[in-house]
C-alpha cells in the first residue's frame, strides 16, 4: 500500500512538473503571440501601429502577470478547457486538437504498431537465420533505411510517386471532394492519402525495431533454456517464437511504450511534408505562431500519453513476464 502511494505520488509529481514545464516552455520563446501574427501580416506589406493595436486587442494576450497566467492555466488543465487558439484565432483549442487527433492517431498510431510488429518479426527471423541473407537483408537494409532523414524520404516519395508519377495524392488526408464521415468512400480515400506518409514512417522506423529485436533474440538464443528446448527436440519454429522471441521481446517493450506515447505528438516532419492535418502539423503551427494555448494543450496531451503508455507497458510487462506479476 505504501509502495503504491509512493508510486502514485511520484507519478503525480512528474505530471505536475511536466505540466508546469509545458507552461513555461512556450513563454520562454521571445516575441508574443501578437508579434507572431504581425510577422505573418507583415509579409503582405508594412504593418502599422494601428494594426498592431487591433491584433493585440483581438488576441488580448497575455493576461495578467505570470502567476495569474499560471493559475488560469492550471484551471484550464483541470477543466480540460484550453481556451482559444492564437494562431487559429478564434478557433477553440479543444476543437482544433480533436479535429487533428484522429488523423494522427490512425496514421502514426497504426504505423507505429505496424513497424513494431513487422520489425520485431523480421528481427526474429534475422536472428534465427543468423549469418544468411535473411539476416543481412533486414538487419543492414533496415538500419540503412532507418538512417534516412524522415523528411528527405518523404520528399523523395512525394516527388517521384506524387508529382512525377501522379500515383498518389500529394496533400492532405482526403480529397477536397470527399466528405469526411464514416463511409467506405471516405475511408478508401483516406487510406489512399495515408499511403505515402505511412510508407515513409514505416520505412524509416523499421530498422530500429529489427536491430533491437535481433540483438535481443541473439542473446536469448544463446541462453540455456533455448538450448535445452532444442535438446528436447522441440521444433525450430516453436523454439524461435515461444521460447526465444517471447523472452527477447521484453526489453523492446519499453521502447515500444515510449514510441506509443509519442504517437499523439504526431510526426511533425512527415505531416509537414505531406500537408497532413494531424497534431504534428498543428504543433508546428502552434510553435511558429507562438500559440501558447495550443502548444500547452498538445504538450499536455503528449506528456500524459507518454506517462500512460509507460503505465500500459508496465501492465503489459506484467502479462508477458510472470516474474513481475507479484
Amino acid at each position: 500500500m505504501r509502495y503504491m502511494l509512493q508510486r502514485a505520488g511520484w507519478f503525480l509529481l512528474t505530471l505536475w512538473a511536466a505540466i508546469t514545464l509545458n507552461f513555461l516552455l512556450p513563454r520562454m520563446m521571445p516575441g508574443s503571440p501578437a508579434d507572431a501574427a504581425l510577422a505573418k501580416l507583415a509579409q503582405n506589406g508594412p504593418v502599422t501601429e494601428q494594426t498592431r493595436k487591433a491584433v493585440e486587442a483581438q488576441l488580448g494576450v497575455p493576461d495578467g502577470n505570470l502567476l495569474q497566467q499560471y493559475l488560469d492555466y492550471l484551471h484550464q488543465v483541470v477543466t480540460l478547457d484550453f481556451g482559444v487558439s492564437y494562431a487559429f484565432y478564434p478557433e477553440p483549442v479543444t476543437g482544433l486538437v480533436l479535429q487533428a487527433l484522429p488523423y494522427t492517431l490512425i496514421l502514426v498510431g497504426l504505423v507505429t504498431i505496424a513497424a513494431f510488429v513487422i520489425g520485431t518479426l523480421l528481427g526474429v527471423l534475422a536472428a534465427w537465420k543468423r549469418g544468411t541473407w535473411m539476416d543481412a537483408l533486414p538487419a543492414v537494409g533496415g538500419s540503412f533505411l532507418g538512417t534516412f532523414p524522415y523528411f528527405w524520404t518523404a520528399l523523395l516519395l512525394l516527388f517521384f510517386l506524387g508529382y512525377v508519377g501522379h500515383l498518389f495524392p500529394t496533400f492532405g488526408a482526403y480529397s477536397a471532394t470527399t466528405v469526411p464521415g464514416f463511409s467506405w468512400a471516405f475511408i478508401e480515400d483516406a487510406l489512399y492519402h495515408a499511403a505515402l506518409p505511412a510508407t515513409t514512417m514505416l520505412v524509416t522506423s523499421l530498422g530500429g525495431w529489427i536491430i533491437g529485436m535481433r540483438n535481443a533474440m541473439i542473446t536469448t538464443l544463446g541462453e540455456d533454456h533455448v538450448t535445452f528446448a532444442e535438446a528436447n527436440g522441440i521444433p525450430g519454429r516453436t523454439v524461435a517464437l515461444k521460447y526465444a522471441a517471447r523472452n527477447a521481446i521484453l526489453p523492446n517493450l519499453t521502447g515500444f511504450g515510449m514510441a506509443l506515447g509519442g504517437v499523439v505528438g504526431g510526426s511533425v516532419l512527415v505531416e509537414q511534408v505531406f500537408g497532413y492535418p494531424g497534431i504534428g502539423f498543428l504543433l508546428f503551427n502552434a510553435v511558429t505562431g507562438q500559440d501558447y494555448p495550443l502548444m500547452q494543450a498538445i504538450f499536455l496531451m503528449i506528456t500524459v500519453s507518454v506517462l500512460v503508455a509507460n503505465l500500459l507497458v508496465d501492465i503489459m510487462y506484467g502479462i508477458l513476464d510472470p516474474r513481475t506479476r507479484r
Binding site: 521571445p30 507572431a36 487591433a54 500529394t170 492532405g172
Partner: protein, 527 residues
C-alpha cells in the same frame, strides 16, 4: 532531367478560375470575418471597400463610393454608389457604412486599418458620408477608403463581431461563397453585383494545397508566390504560364538611429557606398528585382513623383574608396584590411533578419560579403519571425533587414520617419522602428497632412525624397517584388507591365479589380 509539367484537374470547367489565393494550415477553417487576421483570404473580396487603391502606385479607383472630396484637410465627403446590393438582395446603403464605422469603434480589435485613430465623427445622409477627422489629415483618405463595408442587417445581431467567424458571409462583392470544405472552397459569381457586366468568371476555386509544387503541377490560373527560377519552373510547366514581378516595396538595411554609430550620417553614407544594391538584388531575388532607388520611391511605378534633383534616379553606386573615406570622416580607421573604430577595435555589427525569410537572408549574406570589401566583418542573426518583430518594435537591434515604403509614397515616409511615432529603445514603436528623428521631416509631414493641394503635396514629397536620399535613414538595397503568376490559356486581360492596372496579389482587395478585367478565352486557345 525530370521536368515537372502541369496536370490540370479535368473537372475544372472553362468558366472556373483556379486561384492559389489561400493556404491551408493544412486545412481551412471557415472564417469569413474580414477583420480577422486568420480570416479566409477570399473574405477580402466578398466584402468591398469604398475606394480601391492600386498597390502599385497608390492611385484611387472609385468603388462603393462613386466619388469623394476633401473640402479641407480635416474633412472627407464620400458619395455612395447607388445600386449596390448585398448577396441576399438587400440594398447597400449609407446606413451600412455608418454601421461599419460604429462597429469598428465599438470593437477596436476589428479596426485593423486604424480608422478610429484618425476619425472624429461620421455623419451620413441618404447618399453621402461626411467624415470629420481628429486633425488636419489629408492622407487619411486612402486609409478610410480601404475600409471594408459590412451589412448592418446581419452584423448588428452578432454578439461579438471580433470573434464571430461569419461562416456564411453575406457581402457585396462580385462573388459569393459557394461550397466550403476544409480542403477547398469556391466562390460563385453574384448576378446582382453592381458591375456584374464586368465579371466574366463564373467560379473561383481556392484549394488548400497551394505549395509551389502544387502551383506548378495542378494547373492554377492565378497564383502569387516567389518562385525560384521561374523560367524553368512555372514557365516551363505550361506554355501559357506567365509571370509579372513589379516592385512592391523597398528591401533595405534598417539602421537603429538610437544606436551608435548609426546615428552618424557619415557611417550611414559609408555603408551605403560600400554596398551594391544591384548585386544584392541579384543574389536575393535571383535577378528578378532591380536595385532600389534611395529616393524611397518604387521605380518605375512612381516615376512621376521623382524629384529631378536626385542624381541617377537615386541609385547610389558602390564605391569602396569613397565608403572608406566616409568612415574615416566619422573617426574610423582603415588599415588596408580592417575597418577599426576610434578605439582601434575592428568595426563589427549584427544584421538581424527573420528566420525563414530566405530572400532577406540571402541579401544579408551578400551584404555581409560586400562589407568585407571595406573591412567590416558583420554577423547575421536570424531570430524567428515573432522574435524579429518583437526586437524591431522594441528597438532591440542595430541593423536589420527590413521592408519599407510602398504604393503610397507619403504613407511610406511618414510611417518610417515621423517623429510622432518615435519611441526610445525599449519602448514599443510599430511604425518608426528605426527611431528616426528629424524636425525638418516632421515639419514636412505636418504640412502634407494639412494640405489638400495635390501640387503642394507633390512638392513636399520631392523634399522628403531628397532627405531620404541625403540622410539615408535606411539603406535601400533592392525592390521587394509582387510575385504574380498567371496563365493566359483560359483567361486573358491580366495586368502587366504594359497595363499595370493592379498587381497580381491574390490577397486583400486586389482580386476585386483584376477579376473585373479578366475575360474567358472562348473558342480554342486553351491548353
Amino acid at each position: 532531367s525530370l521536368q515537372i509539367t502541369s496536370k490540370p484537374d479535368p473537372t475544372i470547367g472553362d468558366d472556373t478560375l483556379l486561384i492559389a489565393g489561400d493556404k491551408g494550415t493544412p486545412t481551412f477553417t471557415a472564417n469569413f470575418n474580414p477583420f480577422n487576421a486568420n480570416a479566409r483570404k477570399a473574405a477580402a473580396i466578398v466584402y468591398e471597400p469604398l475606394i480601391w487603391i492600386n498597390p502599385l502606385d497608390g492611385t484611387l479607383v472609385p468603388w462603393l463610393a462613386e466619388s469623394w472630396e476633401q473640402p479641407d484637410p480635416q474633412k472627407i465627403v464620400l458619395t455612395l454608389r447607388s445600386g449596390a446590393t448585398w448577396h441576399d438582395g438587400t440594398p447597400l446603403t449609407t446606413g451600412d457604412v455608418d454601421y461599419t464605422f460604429r462597429m469598428l469603434k465599438e470593437h477596436p480589435a476589428n479596426d485593423t486599418g486604424g480608422v478610429w485613430s484618425r476619425v472624429d465623427t461620421v455623419e451620413t445622409t441618404d447618399s453621402t458620408i461626411e467624415i470629420t477627422l481628429l486633425a488636419p489629415d489629408s492622407p487619411a483618405l486612402p486609409v478610410i477608403g480601404a475600409m471594408l463595408i459590412v451589412p448592418e442587417h446581419i452584423w448588428a445581431d452578432v454578439e461579438d463581431p471580433s470573434t464571430w467567424r461569419n461562416e456564411e458571409p453575406v457581402g457585396s462583392g462580385p462573388f459569393q461563397l459557394g461550397n466550403f470544405t476544409s480542403l477547398q472552397y469556391t466562390l460563385d459569381r453574384y448576378a446582382g453585383y453592381w458591375q456584374a457586366d464586368q465579371i466574366d468568371v463564373e467560379h473561383l476555386v481556392y484549394p488548400a494545397a497551394s505549395e509551389e509544387m502544387d502551383l506548378v503541377t495542378k494547373g492554377y490560373d492565378w497564383a502569387y508566390a516567389y518562385m525560384s527560377d521561374v523560367e524553368n519552373t512555372w514557365m516551363a510547366a505550361n506554355p501559357h504560364n506567365r509571370y509579372w514581378f513589379p516592385p512592391g516595396g523597398i528591401i533595405g538595411l534598417h539602421l537603429n538611429h538610437d544606436v551608435a554609430p548609426f546615428d552618424d550620417l557619415d557611417v550611414r553614407r559609408g555603408l551605403s557606398l560600400a554596398l551594391d544594391g544591384k548585386q544584392v538584388g541579384e543574389v536575393a531575388a535571383e535577378g528578378y528585382m532591380d536595385e532600389a532607388s534611395q529616393s524611397g520611391l518604387l521605380l518605375p511605378n512612381q516615376e512621376d513623383l521623382l524629384n529631378p534633383e536626385i542624381p541617377d534616379r537615386g541609385i547610389i553606386a558602390r564605391d569602396a574608396d569613397a565608403a572608406i573615406a566616409a568612415f574615416e570622416k566619422a573617426g574610423f580607421q582603415h588599415d588596408g584590411t580592417t575597418l577599426r573604430t576610434a578605439d582601434g577595435e575592428p568595426f563589427t555589427f549584427a544584421i538581424t533578419t527573420a528566420n525563414g525569410y530566405t530572400d532577406w537572408l540571402r541579401a544579408a549574406q551578400e551584404v555581409q560579403r560586400q562589407l568585407r570589401g571595406v573591412g567590416i566583418e558583420a554577423t547575421i542573426e536570424t531570430p524567428q519571425p515573432a522574435a524579429y518583430e518583437a526586437n524591431l518594435t522594441s528597438g532591440d537591434f542595430a541593423v536589420a533587414m527590413g521592408s519599407s515604403n510602398g504604393s503610397d509614397a507619403f504613407q511610406g515616409y511618414s510611417n518610417l520617419l515621423w517623429g510622432e511615432y518615435y519611441a526610445p529603445v525599449g519602448e514599443a514603436s510599430q511604425n518608426n522602428r528605426i527611431r528616426y528623428r528629424n524636425d525638418e521631416v516632421d515639419q514636412l509631414i505636418g504640412d502634407y497632412r494639412a494640405s489638400v493641394d495635390e501640387d503642394e503635396q507633390a512638392r513636399i514629397l520631392q523634399q522628403l525624397e531628397k532627405i531620404f536620399y541625403d540622410d539615408l535613414p535606411v539603406i535601400a538595397l533592392y525592390y521587394g517584388g509582387l510575385w504574380g503568376l498567371y496563365n493566359d490559356g483560359r483567361f486573358t486581360g491580366w495586368p502587366s507591365a504594359e497595363d499595370p492596372y493592379a498587381p497580381l496579389q491574390t490577397y486583400q482587395s486586389s482580386p476585386l479589380r483584376v477579376l473585373t478585367r479578366v475575360r474567358r478565352v472562348r473558342n480554342g486557345g486553351a491548353s
